[in-house]
């Protein structure tokens, strides 16, 4: 039997919630994506929390919140500890996205789900891979190979291919087959017939206008607004689609020498662009090419100003265009700017992606848009007066508590180690001591002690009473005295490295200085919230710049890839159902759309076994070349090699007869051309090919129809007994072979039609091994 594959959605099926799926391949659990929404709704992670500890590896596909937002929280709170795999851009831009989320949230609330340190430590151990790098899993996952491939949606965006024993499981969500300014299209089409394909139905019901038309409309709308003295707000993501928007604007501004200021405003704007500059090898061919030829980095922006704080924006008078995060308008600069600009009819808020469910952006995108929305304005202000005093007192008290705890723990520690040594036979005593203090959750400090405790728990080899540590001088001596290890005296290479790297702060300096100071200064502060109603007078517009393949393309891509089994996730219930029905009809018979936590088995019902091809057999096999493939008919006898594997040997008895197999996909048009080149008069008449006066060629059955039982095509050659008939039959391959080029899936394939010779005698049956040597 084939490799066992189970898929269990943890979040994001039959709706547009964040994505998170558990895929187990022969018992090895992959958590593919670990997303969260802009509300950071912990209830969404319930299913994940139940399986987090069983996950063996995490694969991330895109650097946005919906695909990786829950990673820091899951690592810290849910017991997720598996190694994580992602591409370099997903790692970097994902990190920036999380910083931006955190900083935006922290500004307006006492956000405590995770901290910057949690983000850092979650991302720290990501193994970075490049596109089409085959990474061989080790240990439990021995034999599994994972490889990221370009998805085309976001920079570094990934289609994951998991391979075991030659069977492919492909996870492809949010792919884009269209080539864009900064990204190449997805390579999904190059995978044919995977065992399992997991894909999304997000766009199954949407169709897009052509890119050119959309771009023009986009630019026209923006220009119209700024020319009428209005401001344009584009709520964008932190480091994903915004790169494409920036390039569109930058290029247009450059071409037309426009001077309206454009701002890119997130807490990590300059880092984002800096990293984008260094990811050219992940971008489109045209960007790479222009860099190779002129060394002009497309992300050296001349017209877009990078901002990390709102205050600088206010200094600029006149109409302006601002790209600000978050796209959901729930938090971040976009939220504040929206509240400020919404009341002016001249202004425009241009959404470039569908807002997440139940966010302000989604509300504003509804038709008709609401007249007024209630928003919560929150602000972080430093503490003053009594509050400050209270805070300080509180801090003091805490410090004292901690100090007390520390001393207590030290005592406990010594007791514990003592206890451990004395009662080595009864570890329960020690266990109790470990668990007891952990309930006070003294944080980091405590962790250190726990280590010590565990050390102390190791029973000493020789059970004796407690004593001071005594180290035996174990230095070895030889004829020249104590053996010197030269390493002890060499200077550590890293010394000088440290000198050069500016003192690293908690954030490894990954943050822009300004924004860091907002959060990291230790001035005590608090969040003040007020609810207010905003009357939406500005224009609202939604244009699809999501960079996903639209419904029609998705369907045709699925038809091309034609997986043996298809799993649909992520998309509204209607879209999922629609795509499911479509695929059942046109793609394959096995289409699944599981519910949350419903584990489905997509183990292929494919049978397979391995055999060794013996030299003797292979020397008698004549291959026919057909495009990428070479094909031969084999009749063989099963034998066994010394090491017990099956091998195929030549037959010792006459080969049983078999039907002739004609391989290839015939296009009537090509056939016509071929016959015409041979001097036969050919023309199409009523779906058939008329050759000469009387003979007709007809094609029955379509090979394009995949998945079904079809796939066998028939050519019918009809005509009266005449010279012409035999001539055409000869051309079709009688008495030898005809090699004609037919086009197949845009690839040049050579098809050989072989009818063998009809001279009787030694049976030569179609594609078959060469007549054995006498």
């Amino acid at each position: 039997m084939g490799t066992s594959v189970q898929v269990k959605p943890l979040c994001g099926v039959y709706n547009e919630n964040p994505l998170s799926y558990l895929v187990s391949v022969d018992g090895f659990n992959f958590l593919i994506d670990c997303g969260w929404n802009d509300h950071f709704d912990a209830s969404l992670l319930q299913p994940l929390s139940r399986v987090a500890s069983t996950v063996d590896a995490v694969l991330l596909s895109h650097p946005d919140t919906l695909h990786l937002g829950a990673l820091p929280y899951a690592m810290k709170q849910l017991g997720l500890s598996a190694p994580v795999f992602a591409t370099e851009p997903v790692y970097r831009l994902g990190l920036l996205t999380m910083y931006d989320q955190y900083l935006s949230r922290k500004q307006v609330s006492e956000f405590d789900l995770f901290t910057l340190d949690d983000i850092d430590s979650a991302f720290q151990n990501i193994t970075r891979l490049t596109y089409s790098q085959n990474y061989h899993m080790s240990g439990k996952g021995e034999g599994i190979v994972i490889a990221p491939h370009a998805a085309g949606h976001l920079l570094g965006g990934t289609i994951w291919k998991i391979t075991k024993d030659g069977e492919d499981v492909i996870y492809a969500v949010d792919f884009n087959h269209r080539k864009e300014r900064h990204l190449n299209g997805t390579v999904l089409l190059s995978f044919a017939r995977p065992a399992v394909l997991i894909t999304d139905a997000y766009n199954a019901l949407n169709n897009q206008a052509s890119r050119r038309q959309r771009d023009q409309e986009f630019l026209d709308t923006i220009l119209k607004t700024v020319r009428a003295d209005g401001n344009v707000l584009l709520p964008v993501d932190t480091a994903g689609r915004v790169l494409e928007l920036i390039l569109i604007l930058e290029q247009y501004w450059e071409q037309h020498q426009l001077t309206y200021p454009i701002f890119f405003l997130t807490y990590v704007a300059s880092s984002t662009i800096d990293y984008a500059k260094s990811f050219l090898e992940w971008m489109s061919d045209s960007i790479a090419k222009s860099f190779e030829h002129t060394r002009d980095n497309a992300f050296l922006l001349k017209h877009v100003t990078l901002l990390i704080s709102n205050s600088e924006l206010e200094k600029v008078p006149g109409p302006k265009i601002v790209l600000a995060s978050m796209a959901s308008l729930e938090a971040g600069f976009s939220h504040d700017i929206f509240v400020e600009w919404a009341a002016d009819t001249k202004n425009l808020v241009l959404f470039t992606e569908r807002g997440q469910f139940a966010t302000l952006a989604r509300m504003l995108q509804s038709d008709p848009p609401p007249r007024a929305v209630k928003v919560t304005m929150s602000k972080r202000i430093p503490l003053v007066g009594e509050e400050l005093a209270a805070y300080e007192e509180e801090q003091n008290r805490k410090r004292k508590d901690e100090a007390l705890k520390a001393t207590l723990m030290k005592e406990e520690e010594s007791k514990a180690s003592l206890g451990a040594e004395l009662s080595a036979g009864d570890p329960m005593v020690v266990d109790a001591k470990i668990t007891q203090p952990s309930s006070n959750a003294a944080g980091l400090q405590f962790g250190a002690y726990r280590d010590v405790l565990i050390d102390g728990f190791v029973p000493p080899p020789s059970s004796a009473g407690p004593m001071f540590p005594f180290y035996e001088n174990s230095a070895e001596w030889d004829d020249f005295g104590e053996i010197i290890n030269p390493d002890d005296y060499t200077r550590n290479n890293e010394d000088m490295d440290h000198a050069s790297i500016p003192a690293e702060d908690d954030l490894n300096g990954k943050l822009d200085e300004g924004s860091a100071s907002l959060i990291l200064d230790t001035t005590p502060s608090k969040v003040v919230s007020s609810e207010q109603t905003v009357y939406v007078k500005c224009s609202l517009l939604y244009m699809d710049f999501e960079g996903r393949s639209d419904g029609r393309s998705v369907k045709s891509i699925l038809g091309h890839v034609s997986p043996l089994k298809l799993v649909l996730v992520h998309g509204s219930a209607e879209a999922t159902e629609h795509l499911k029905q479509h695929c059942l009809k046109n793609v394959c018979q096995h289409v699944y759309a599981p519910q949350i936590e419903e584990s489905i088995d997509v183990t292929s019902d494919l049978c397979a076994y391995k055999v060794q091809l013996s030299e003797k057999l292979m020397s008698n096999v004549l291959f026919k070349k057909l495009g990428d493939y070479e094909i031969a008919w084999v009749d063989a006898e099963v034998g066994e090699t010394e090491n017990g594997t099956l091998s195929l040997l030549p037959l010792s008895t006459p080969a049983p007869p078999h039907k002739t197999v004609l391989v290839g996909d015939i296009k009537m048009a090509d056939l016509k051309q071929y016959l015409a080149s041979k001097g036969v008069q050919v023309e199409f008449a009523g779906g058939a090919l008329r050759c000469g006066e009387y003979v007709t060629l007809r094609k029955v059955g379509d090979s394009v129809q995949k998945g079904g039982s079809a796939g066998v095509q028939q050519i019918i050659l009809e005509g009266p007994l005449s010279e012409e008939y035999y001539k055409i039959r000869d051309h079709l391959g009688r008495g030898g072979q005809l090699r004609a080029c037919f086009r197949h899936l845009k690839r040049e394939l050579k098809y050989s039609f072989e009818f063998g010779n009809s001279s009787g005698g030694v049976g030569f049956r179609g594609l078959r091994g060469h007549p054995e040597e006498a």
Partner: protein
């Protein structure tokens, strides 16, 4: 068909043996340094590594020996890094030879390749006819070069390859090529030591079967990095604090960037030096800086972490210098200038100016070529000849601190010990140095399982790899795993070097191919009685069934379940069948029969001969078999119990006509008789009866 098959077969046999042979031929860099180019063929696939020129020669003489090979047959050309001795004959090879394969290099290599070669074309002072290529050729070659990222696995014509970080310079790669499971690693120039910006060469995950490795430094050992860096900074620091000037002649790309990083960092951590300017005089390097600033991700963790703060290649203390006219020589300073050999140009101008002052210093930071001034001054002569022909006393201090990023003996031997490749081919090294390395490595791999070869240019190394072909049987054919002795029949589908066996019906499931068939329908004029045809057919064929067509109700005959004969109208018969060799044959005979029947119509000869009975049939068949066997083997007799006894040169074989079993002492004869009998049988009864 069968007769023409024989020579083809024997040809193929030898071809197959050749295919198992892996041949590696250095076309350059074989027992020499320069013009790296290694040609490799296996299983009919050809890969070439690197395409350099020899810096010591010019024109055609600098090229690798391309005449020895057929460029049009090369599938893939892989370039390891941008240095001239590894990449500079590429425009020539792409534009002026019949090469039509694909070329790959890393992103950074490609970007720098163009700059470096354009510069090379501009500065090389050779006559027009000696020029191997011009600027246009380079631009055209850029369109043909494809890029590969580190670890990215690509497949071209069944050749799989990917690359590892090689250290050495930015974008340098080691290529691993996998053809039908045999892996070859070509290191190019590599360094296992991490430095300020580059990663150390990686240790490949899989051990290769053949390792083609550089041997530039032979058995020499490098000074540890931190010691030489300290020497470097100490010399410079002391010179400038004593009011002297420091000249660093360096090649524009590669190590120069490393030195700049060291200097910039040193200056950052020593504020007292801030008043001493560092100049960097190389327009080419300035242009390449954009590349260095971009491909940060090809560099090491350290640089990438620094990048989080600011781009480390945005130097804070180093200023570009366009020409000596711009240079304001007023006090202590550090100047890094090209060329590295002090042959001419800015570095020489400064050298001439500064060499007599003992306060000044000259630091030579890398490998220097024989015959250049830099090589001369390493020996610290008393006097040197200036550009203007005058002699001057050499008073400035000369320091030789090698920052060359090639592996030394320690790195090479540990690298090989980790990999344990069964075959090691040494290239890119001076012959003596290579010989010493070979001897030393032989003592390391003393178990004798490792072959170490040092081919000269155009000397082929031949290795045999016994490749076992494994096939995967899938789909319907594999529903049950067969046991020994059973037969397996199906389509063997080969893609690249993977084999699959499947039933024809499954072909469209597991491949992008589809199966089809051809139905032939022919109408023949015939106005006689249908029964005549039926009678005649029954005389010839053993199985003729008559039915009536369900739709039209006309009488039909079905011959051997293959060909259907139908009386379409008074004047026409129609035949239809699915094309395959036997049915074609049957239908042809029916057509002939029908034609004959209509021609002989008036005669109405009734064949008096009764339908041949089975016994007679068998007898006749036996006769034919006997006759054919006699014609093949000569001495054939009927033995007891009905067996045929065949005697060839004293070897006796007994053949059971019923079962086809053969008994003989002589294996060869047994096989031959078996095969002959099988063929005779299929000739006597070519149409298998349905159900049999």
């Amino acid at each position: 068909m069968a007769s023409t098959g024989q020579p083809a077969l024997s040809l193929k046999r030898s071809a197959m043996r050749d295919e198992d042979q892996l041949i590696v031929t250095p076309l350059g860099a074989g027992s020499e340094v320069g013009r790296s180019c290694v040609h490799m063929s296996y299983k009919g696939k050809i890969v070439m590594f690197d395409c350099g020129i020899h810096p010591a020669f010019s024109g055609m003489a600098a090229l690798p020996y391309f005449d020895e090979i057929d460029p049009s047959r090369i599938d893939v050309l892989l370039i390891t890094h941008f240095h001239l001795d590894h990449a500079a004959s590429l425009p020539y090879f792409l534009e002026k030879t019949t090469f039509k394969g694909r070329v790959f290099m890393t992103h950074a290599t490609k970007a720098i390749y163009k700059l470096l070669l354009s510069d090379y074309v501009k500065v090389s002072k050779v006559s027009v006819e000696d020029m191997l290529f011009d600027e246009q050729d380079i631009l055209r070659s850029m369109d043909k070069i494809e890029v590969i990222d580190f670890h990215q696995t690509l497949e071209v014509n069944g050749i799989r390859f990917w690359c590892y970080t090689a250290g050495h310079v930015l974008g340098a790669a080691m290529f691993m090529v996998d053809i039908a499971g045999v892996r070859v690693l070509y290191t190019g120039d590599y360094s296992r030591e991490e430095d300020r910006h580059l990663r150390a060469a990686e240790l490949p995950q899989f051990s290769p079967d053949v390792c083609i490795i550089e041997s530039t430094y032979g058995v020499q050992l490098h000074e540890p990095r931190h010691i030489r860096e300290k020497r470097f900074t100490d010399v410079i620091h002391s010179t400038v604090t004593q009011g002297g000037r420091v000249l660093i002649p360096a090649f524009a790309l590669g190590r120069a960037q490393e030195l700049l990083l060291i200097l910039d960092e040193y200056w950052s951590s020593h504020p007292d030096l801030h008043k001493v300017p560092i100049y960097y005089a190389s327009p080419l390097a300035k242009r390449c800086m954009a590349v260095y600033q971009t491909y940060i991700n090809s560099m090491n963790e350290r640089i990438r972490n620094q990048f989080a703060n600011s781009n480390p290649f945005d130097f804070k203390h180093i200023f570009p210098l366009k020409s000596i006219d711009e240079f304001n020589d007023t006090g202590p300073c550090v100047v890094m200038a090209t060329p590295g050999g002090l042959q001419s140009g800015l570095s020489r101008q400064l050298f001439d100016k500064w060499c007599s002052d003992r306060k000044n210093a000259c630091v030579i930071p890398g490998y220097v070529v024989e015959g250049t001034l830099a090589k001369t001054i390493i020996n610290e002569p008393k006097e040197v000849t200036l550009t203007n022909g005058l002699t001057a006393s050499l008073n400035m201090q000369i320091h030789y601190i090698s920052f060359s990023a090639h592996a030394d003996y320690a790195q090479t031997s540990t690298f090989l010990k980790e990999l344990m490749p069964p075959n090691i081919i040494l290239v890119h090294g001076e012959a003596n140095e290579m010989g010493r390395l070979k001897q030393k490595l032989l003592s390391v791999f003393a178990d004798g399982n490792t072959k170490i070869i040092t081919p000269k240019n155009c000397q082929s190394v031949e290795m045999y790899f016994n490749s076992q072909k494994m096939a995967k049987t899938i789909g319907k054919l594999a529903e049950k795993t067969p046991s020994v002795g059973e037969t397996v029949c199906g389509l063997l589908v080969k893609k690249g070097f993977t084999y699959q066996i499947m039933a024809p019906e499954d072909l469209h499931v597991f491949s992008q191919l589809s199966t089809g068939n051809i139905i032939q329908r022919i109408s023949i004029p015939y106005s006689g009685a249908f029964a005549v045809i039926k009678y005649r057919l029954k005389q010839i064929y053993e199985s003729v069934e008559s039915t009536t067509d369900e739709e039209s109700g006309v009488p039909t005959l079905r011959v051997h379940d293959r060909v259907t004969v139908k009386q379409e109208s008074e004047n026409h018969l129609s035949l239809h069948w699915t094309a395959d060799p036997i049915s074609d044959m049957v239908s042809d005979s029916i057509v002939a029969l029908v034609l004959n029947a209509s021609r002989e119509m008036p005669k109405m000869v009734v064949d008096s001969e009764p339908v041949a009975n089975e016994e007679e049939d068998t007898k006749r068949a036996e006769k034919i078999i006997y006759a054919l066997l006699v014609s093949l083997f000569g001495d054939v007799k009927y033995g007891e119990d009905g067996k045929l006894v065949i005697n060839v040169d004293g070897n006796v074989a007994q053949l059971d006509r019923e079962s086809g079993e053969v008994k003989s002492e002589n294996e060869g004869l047994k096989e031959r008789v078996k095969m002959a009998f099988r063929r005779i049988k299929s000739a006597v009864k070519p149409i298998p009866l349905s159900g049999s």
